[in-house]
Symmetry: C2
Subunit: 242 residues, 2 copies
Amino acid sequence: MITRNPSLTDQVKAHIKEQIVGDEFEDGRIPPEAALAEDLGVSRTTVRDALGKLEHEGAIYRKQGAGTFVNKPGLQIKSRLEEIWSYEQVLEEHGYKPAVKVLRDEIVPASRETAAALGLEAGSKVVEIEKVFLESRKPVVLTRNRIPADLFEQSEHEHDELPLYEFLEEYTDRHLTYYVSEIVPMAFDADQARKLGVKKGTIGLGFVEVGYDQSNEAVVHATSYFRDDLLRFRIIRRKSGG
Amino acid sequence: MITRNPSLTDQVKAHIKEQIVGDEFEDGRIPPEAALAEDLGVSRTTVRDALGKLEHEGAIYRKQGAGTFVNKPGLQIKSRLEEIWSYEQVLEEHGYKPAVKVLRDEIVPASRETAAALGLEAGSKVVEIEKVFLESRKPVVLTRNRIPADLFEQSEHEHDELPLYEFLEEYTDRHLTYYVSEIVPMAFDADQARKLGVKKGTIGLGFVEVGYDQSNEAVVHATSYFRDDLLRFRIIRRKSGG
DNA sequence: AAGTGGTCTAGACCACTAT
DNA sequence: TAGTGGTCTAGACCACTTC
């Protein structure tokens, strides 16, 4: 199911990113687009697409008429909400060595919320997987994923400790492409608190999310809970977004 | 300080968006890019850029080889974190008729946090503006903006009830281009609770943000607090982002 | 005036989906 | 196999910053 090599644009992006983190640009000034294009033997469009991605993730900024520059503070932003795709990765970025523990993995009838989120009949069967992500034995993240059971060809599966998108590609023909996430501040209940290793009533963050596949169909209803003392999310908000 | 007319791309985007919300596409299917380009008399690149923006904001989705389609659920997502640029706008999207009240507007020495966030000497003067946003007399959002005082040519200013980006363009030569926001779940203290019209200890969301201008300089340190019972944020998280 | 990023064009070819 | 979106090219002109 794995597809083609990285696009030219992504190769150019990676190449420039390397030079940025290697601090190879004088005064944080990145060469003109035309020069980059010629040096790398690609069109200016390809260079611009690559720079656009780097700008979007905060690694560089551009000033019309002036040039393109390294954004040093932007490079240091960790756990950007828009870029999260697996919690192991998030914890690694923080310098942790993450571990995953599967607490539960079973087929249950969908709750009303899950059925609504996934567009299922009430009471349809879903696979529900509960995991905690830990760093040096301290729980940081608790997740509950619910996936329609009929997406799976076989009812048995291993590897449920994999990141969800890999798990889905392993056992179904669905590819997660995006999530819509609701951000919920909350006091943890007894169950959540116990699994996160904190006292009941501790304040933390929750996400209520629906994940969609390549055909824009809802494939997963997820709820996640985070220890605010160990992990805090950031986001870059841009004017151009609207 | 206002500049040129909307780009062709943005005009095309607006045109297609109109047709989408007007439900003018059969079966939610949007015409091929080549057809749109010819009909509108622009290049396919321009059409693609416009469609790319619409896809990014969740209004459409594309399937390679198959076509481009209206994303009905995506159209209904309100208060998307990435797109927020003024809280009046957010409240309007929710069908509220927002009001703004300026609680405070004064020049004070920067706190340590503010000085660090803005790269100022400790104790430098900053303009601090505190506002609440209300809907039908209920406070929903409380914000505190701190701007270096020496950005202002004159020490007096009116119109401090304007959205911050308009206020800055009115009185300084800085344009806000993006924010880096940290998301903080919290229990409101007595002061916050009183100003938001809730009980002390009520759980809500906070942002701690730094806003940057067109030259990537920090121009505002903002802290904002939200009533979770009246306003909840969402975000679209994409795999392509990384 | 020179240099740089921003927008736009016209066209080629590839990868994938549907039938 | 036909049709659609995805990638890439080469080049033109504009808007803005810098000197």
